[in-house]
Structures are given as C-alpha cells and as structure tokens.
Point group: C2
Chain length 341, copies 2
Amino acid sequence: MAVTIKDVAREANVSVASVSRALNGHGGVTADTLERIREVAARLRYVPHGAARSLITRRTHTVGALLPDLYGEFFSELIRGIDLAARAQGLHLLVSSSHDDAAEAAAALRAMQGRVDGLLVMSPHADAAFLRQNLPMGLPTVLMNTVLDGDDYAALSVDNHGGVRLLMQHLIDGGHRRIAFIQGPPKNRDVAEREAAYLQQVAEHGLEPIVLPGDFNEESGYRAGEQLLAMSSRPDAVFAANDMMAIGCMAAIRDAGLRIPDDIAVAGFDDVPMARYVTPALTTVRVSIAELGKEALLRLTAEIEQAEHLPRTHQRVDAGLVIRQSSGGQQVHARPRAAGE
Amino acid sequence: MAVTIKDVAREANVSVASVSRALNGHGGVTADTLERIREVAARLRYVPHGAARSLITRRTHTVGALLPDLYGEFFSELIRGIDLAARAQGLHLLVSSSHDDAAEAAAALRAMQGRVDGLLVMSPHADAAFLRQNLPMGLPTVLMNTVLDGDDYAALSVDNHGGVRLLMQHLIDGGHRRIAFIQGPPKNRDVAEREAAYLQQVAEHGLEPIVLPGDFNEESGYRAGEQLLAMSSRPDAVFAANDMMAIGCMAAIRDAGLRIPDDIAVAGFDDVPMARYVTPALTTVRVSIAELGKEALLRLTAEIEQAEHLPRTHQRVDAGLVIRQSSGGQQVHARPRAAGE
DNA sequence: AGCCGCGATGAAAACGTTTACGTTGCGCTC
DNA sequence: GAGCGCAACGTAAACGTTTTCATCGCGGCT
C-alpha cells in the first residue's frame, strides 16, 4: 500500500493539515516543523495522490485530447505541438484516439469527466449535437479542424482556402492552364474546403475544372495519376488534396515515362517531412500542424483560467506556400526541418 | 457545477447506493428502479467523476507513458503502438514528454501518482537509482529501451545486436569489405549497442573498423559522408546508426558525383517511412516500433492484473532486414506501409 | 401464527487530500 | 497582571464515488 499523508503526519508528529500546508508552501508552519515534515516526506517517499487531490481542488492539471487516429505525421505533429504547449503551462496530456464509431467516441468523451480540466477535440463524429449530448457540461472545450454549426465551442482550423489560393496562383503564374485536382475522403472537412477553394480559383481564372477521386492514401494518388494520363487532353498540372497522394501521382507519371515538372507539374498539401525528400521535391502548402495544436491548447487554457466564458472565436492558422522542383521551383538542397519548427 | 450521483439519486427517489449499483450493473436493483435510474441519469446527462471513482476503486484505467521527446517518427510510432494496445484493453493513455533534465523528469514521474495504474518509461535519465528514488513504490512499471542495472523492473528493448548482424552479413555477402559506421548521440543506449555489434561483426570477419561521429540528424550524416569521401582508402559501404543520417550521407555521396550503390553502398537503421521514398530506396533494419510499444503495454497490463510480481523479464523485440536499392537490392516499387503494420 | 430466508434498499464508512474554522500558547500593551 | 492579537497548529468537513453492513418487507415453511 502506498504511503499517504497520514503516514507522514504520524511520523512527523503533526496533523495532516500541517503536512499539507508545509508541502504546498502555504505558510503557517514554523521553519522548524517545515524542515521536519520535508525530511519525513522525503524519507518515506511520499507522493500526494493525484485523484484525491484533484477531487477536492477541482483541478487535474490535465487536458484531454480526443483524436480520430494517431497514424501518420499529421497527428504526430499535432500531439507534439499540444504536448509542448501543455508542458509549458504545467499541464499533462491525456490522449484518446482511434474511436471507430460514434459510440466509442462518446464513451471516450465521458471517460474524460473528472480527469481533465479541458478538452481538445478533433473528431469526424463531433458535430455540435454530438458534443452537446456527450460532453459533460461546463467542461471547457476547443475544437480543431472540426465542423461546427452554431458557436457553442471555440474552434481552430487551418486556412485551407488561403493555402489553395496561393498554390493555384503559383501554378497559374507558371503558365499552367489545365490543372487537375485529386480529392480526399468524402466526409473530410479539410478536403471539402480545399476542393471548394480549387473550384473557386478555377472559376475565377476561367479554367476548366478536372476532378479525380482519392482517399488520402498514396495508392489512390497513383490511380488518379493513371486516369489523368489516359485523358484525351492531358492536364499540365496536378494538385492533390494531400502530399501522399501527390507522391503516388508522381510515381504514376514517372512510370509512364513522363517528366516532372516539364510534362506535368505536381503539387500537394501538408508539407509532410517526406515531401522534400522525394525526387523531384514536392511543391506543397505548408500548414504548421504543431502550431495548430499549440494555438488550440493556448486557447483552451485561456478558457480554463477564465471562470467566465470567452467569446467563441473561430480562429484560423495560416498556410504558406512551399515551392520545390515538382512545380518547376528552383533546386534547393533538402534540409532537415529545425527541431523547434 | 457538474451533476453528481446525488442529483440523480434525489431525482429518482432512491439512495446514491442504488444509483451506483444500477449504473454499474451490480444487480440488486429491481428492473423497475433500474429503468427509472437509467432514465434520470440520461436525462440529467450524469457522468461519473473519474477522480472520485478511482479514489475508492484504486483503479484509474489509465497508464502513463514517460518519454524523452515526441518529435519524429520513432515516438509517433511508439505512441501509436501503445495507444492501440491500450485502447484494446480499455485503458487511457497519459503522456508526459520532453523533460529536459532529471529534475523535470522526476516531477513528471511524481505527478503520475494516483493518476495511473502503471507506467511505461523511456528516458535517458532513468537509471535504476533514479527510478527507485522517484517512482512511487508499488507502481507497476515497464522500461522501454532503457538501461537497467539490476532487475527491479521489467524491460523491453529492440534487438539491436541481431539487426546489425543481419545487415552486416548482407553487406559482406554483397562483396563489401571496407564498411564504415556512423555513430549516434554518445549517451544513447541503442547507439552503443549498434556500435558494439558493428565492431563485433567487423572483428569476426577480419575487417577494419571505420567509425565516424554523428548525432542522429541528417546533417551529421552529410558531414560524415564528406569525411568518408575524403579518406585515402575510401570505404565501399556505409552503415549509419539511423536512417536519417544514412539519408544525409547519401546526399553527400550524390553531391560528390558518385553512384549508390555501385560506388558506395549505404544502409541505415529504423526503417522510417521515408526510407522507401528516397532514391535510391534505403536498405535498413526494420524494427517495429509500434510493436515495441504494444508489447510493452501488454507486459504492463499483465503486471497490473497480477497482484503478485511477475519475474522481471528482459524481453527483446525482433529486428528484420529490409533490402532495397541503396545496397544493391532489387528494384521494388515503393508501397505504402499498411495502416495496421 | 411465528419464523426464516432472501432480495431490495438505505445509511454510513472509506478512499486521500485541502481548507475553513477553532484552539492553543505566546508576547505585547496598558 | 489581565486582556488582546497573532502565529502555529489541530479538528473536521468536504469532494464524489463504491461498498459493507444493517434494515425492511414479504413469501413460504412448519
């Protein structure tokens, strides 16, 4: 059995209250007894019981993160950004992921009750109704890249529209006219935004939209590439909804004996680390996932600190263009991303 | 204020005990009252308070993971493996990372007390003395890739020795004789094991050891490559202690106008996803990090289940050879790793 | 009819903390 | 030297559960 505050109190000949005061630095103990209590606590290796403490203080110093998955660089970066910011605030991180269906996500949500001070949510199941139903009321929550109708919760998401605009402008400036788009999984909000932005750009410049199906995996990019090569009037550029599909598409183009970017330019979205290592290096839209996580956590802690509810802002994190050779950008030697980036 | 079990009891005209019994399915309630309690609980959106519950049940259904960092594919995969296995066992995951010094790691360790049922530890600061000092006694703990003297804790680590042996054998079979080794960060246990295995293999085959410094980053691999090319009698193969350095080294060789693998063969260690996308694709040692995490968690839950301590086994997870073009392996089209892998 | 057993229920203790409040003892001041 | 204030410390309540134990009511047995 673990050693409790009572054991320390008995051993130091004081009450539990004094032990608590001493160890938490609340004052009200003489320097002499403080020293004695400290000594006993260290000797007994006393460590306060987190659950008991947070039961009375109503603070867990922990935030929960509800994610759809953990696979791939996106989530890796997201968690890292969240964790870094959380650590800076002295918070712990309780992750919950891979809930396949809404019921499982609901269970995960409910299990968070009493274990976290706030919640970061990114989930395909998380519409406003779902959250209202399953979220313990009064728990500060921030949504990441998640659709919301109504402004019940604060939300952050990446500026897909701005990113696509930059990229399309770059391709058009490069003289490309027949620009194809490879879609992602249908219910994905980011995909929908990117496609809408693509269509808008195409329309604004009087171009013809060419849309191919995809599912975010490399293979679907390869298949899309094959379809695209078989078209009667071949596109001279491809924009894939994410980098992995762009890489798959590049493989298809290369396998067909065509050159990138001379015959067809290729671009992606995300700037996964791999993008700069493929040949030719991939032009893409850079969205700092880690920063998204960090900003979300900062927003959450702000909400936790304030007793009063803050206005439910919907904040966007910027996306930037990263030009590499796959779209005819100048040759640059691949450089590792700095650790803090 | 959140709704508690008392609110449900009052609303349903029963005692809190009955609510607890009903909601936990302990029986001892008539079907009638059970239904009534369920209805009230749902209507009030009652969710039991985790801290309060685990205070009395002494179970948190959470495991903690103490990691040195979260950056890069290694930790991403590790966390994913742990999370997947944890979820299968109905456990949550509390991660704590990036503790720069021992004091911070100690604080993190102590903060886990009362919030987790067991601990997964991978930390450079975690020697046996450190753990004995800071770990709340009686908390089941499993070490991952962490040096231990004495057998106080169960441990898992990757079979660096076996992996290196396979790789060296492959290079030697390919006719390579002057095989250089690029080191990693000095205090890293994996690095030490890989280097020791390299030296042993070199000695066994009567070859000359060639060791260059490195720090696991791509840049250090590039520098090592430059050094290696400047040597009077050039090596005909390089084995880097991890993939990123191997990739950096390949860049240096390519920049010098030499061909891989014809002039110099290159191999790495880890099989990061990127390894199959670089050109030429990188021969490497595959260690399933996710599996390491999974096995560690399984071992931990076993320890949690058993009241009695299990024997402190030191378990190895296998490493396998992945032959690609950088060592003269046959050309294979890069295929995405299956999601479950 | 009285008793026994049993299933349903409630009262209360327990988990390990923090903290409001009460008590003690001491050194001042008048 | 009595009263007062204040610092140090202890007592006990509180947090929200689970669980043990006692109580109650009721049907079946002798």
